[in-house]
Symmetry: C2
Subunit: 315 residues, 2 copies
């Protein structure tokens, strides 16, 4: 028996944009929107709403800024029940840039923040909620959060924040199913008025199983990306989640189509997925930035040396 | 606190041989043996002991037959505590080909069988045990086993079989953590005098997590392959298992080295890993043979058509 409350958020364009400075062609974004719409995915996260005062639109593509006009252009004419989501980072958004919900194609705004910035996240999230948006807070680097501070953050979120969903983000791809169970149960024990969600990274090929694990323990929101596209090792694949969930409304076939037509060619140009330096970063619970730097250089297959550089032992 | 009883069996050459008709160069097999030896992996499975009366040594490489002389040649001079394992299939081995343990470099012989062949497997396994080998039975296609028949097979194995280990094999890569928990607990409730092991396939990126799940429920033997090399989607990666297990005897670094030097170049020539048709076969609990045939043809990226051909619906 399926659980109708489970919502799927495809963040292919948003998380994938972290690999290419958000420079996806409109035709690609449109193909993804069409596929997730036909598949009946609940939400599609299309990018960040970052301030143009902080980031140059020479350096970054349009999905770093997500102007309403750009969104309207790529979704125009496509029949869809899929809601559009955008992400905002604490300290990187001009709140005035965000129009009231009624004037925007965006339905949901998600605030990404570390535990230490939870007060800022709540303040920002409530501003977005007051503009009429569905909202969420994504707690990043959850594997590094100190337990007592995470408890306090969750208590604050429950009491002070208007978010509809609190997402646990395994930024380092370091969790396996036992810590996921612990974290989801902990969050559920404190957060009673909002849903809990999971955003997993795939460094150790655990993004899908960690997402299943969160579902088993009653998380009702899951993030995924088509063919796992996303920063470094990428994310929980949308096609696997749709193959797993039993809700008859989901249709995997449009996702299979868009992988054949768009993602297989894209993978020739952009690198993501199971790659040993990302696996090493995951098992050592480190941010993938050092591994990403390695992959950009000429020693990209020197795995042992990279491992030694992280664990800090010289031979 | 680590569990000293957990044994790691690397079956890179044996399962990987299913992709290339067991035609690995001696230098490659030797590099793998050196790596798993330096990493202190407990067992290395090097191939099948199949009958030359049934299989041509023109068509198949030497690791389809695993003559003791060939094994001795590739392991010669390498310091190692890693024991050698070979696999035998019910009905495909000449028992006379297998010398007594004392005359052989092989330590363990594993019998692969479906539930329907469990009587034959027990008979063969006991013959091997009587020759002095450590033995195991690998129950293949466990996801397709009918529960009552699996119960009977497990009862027989416990009562009649001399095997040291009973391995649960997710041939189709279709299990996720809840069925793994069910199957391991079921096996442990019947099998009291032998260890339970897990051999997972990676169709849905669940091989590592299913192996962890088996460990959580007290399986003490785990199969893995370097960089996941293995038939179709491949297996649980050895490097991830060694990154996960806490036993200080394991050293991941020689495995990282051999991936850099041998497996990255090999992946340019041989295909395995997360590939959509294998994922589809996994989510539909089908053997990967149709997906493997697709990947050998010119329509190899026609995922939707392949999906329709399996679910049997015409549009």
């Amino acid at each position: 028996m399926f659980r109708p409350k489970i919502k799927v958020l495809d963040c292919t364009i948003r998380d994938g944009g972290l690999i290419n400075n958000h420079k996806f062609e409109d035709s690609f974004v449109r193909a993804v929107y069409k596929a997730v719409s036909e598949a009946n995915v609940d939400y599609m996260e299309i990018g960040y709403k970052n301030s143009r005062k902080l980031f140059s639109d020479q350096e970054y593509g349009k999905w770093k800024f997500c102007d309403d006009e750009d969104i309207n252009k790529v979704i125009k004419g496509i029949k869809s029940n899929t809601k559009i989501s955008v992400m905002v980072d604490v300290g990187r958004v001009d709140v005035e840039d965000v129009k009231p919900k009624k004037q925007s194609p965006v339905s949901m705004i998600r605030v990404a923040a570390y535990v230490k910035d939870i007060d800022k996240a709540i303040f920002l999230c409530n501003q977005m909620a007051d503009k009429g948006y569905e909202t969420a807070v994504n707690i990043m680097a959850i594997s590094k959060a100190r337990d007592v501070e995470l408890t306090e953050a969750l208590v604050q979120l429950e009491k002070e924040c208007k978010a509809n969903v609190i997402n646990l983000v395994d930024s380092n791809g370091s969790l396996y199913q036992e810590p996921v169970e612990y974290l989801v149960k902990k969050a559920k024990s404190i957060i009673k008025t909002k849903e809990i969600g999971m955003h997993a990274h795939n460094n150790q090929q655990l993004a899908f199983s960690n997402t299943i694990e969160a579902i088993i323990h009653d998380a009702n929101s899951v993030d995924c990306t088509i063919y796992g596209l996303g920063r470094a090792a990428g994310n929980c694949p949308t096609e696997l989640i749709l193959g797993f969930l039993k809700n008859p409304k989901f249709d995997i076939r449009p996702i299979l189509d868009v992988i054949s037509k768009e993602f297989i060619p894209l993978r020739e140009k952009l690198e993501w997925g199971y790659i040993i330096p990302y696996a090493i970063a995951g098992m050592l619970d480190e941010h993938p930035r050092a591994a990403m730097a390695l992959r950009d250089g000429k020693n990209k297959e020197n795995y042992r040396e990279f491992y030694e550089s992280i664990v800090g032992t010289e031979e």
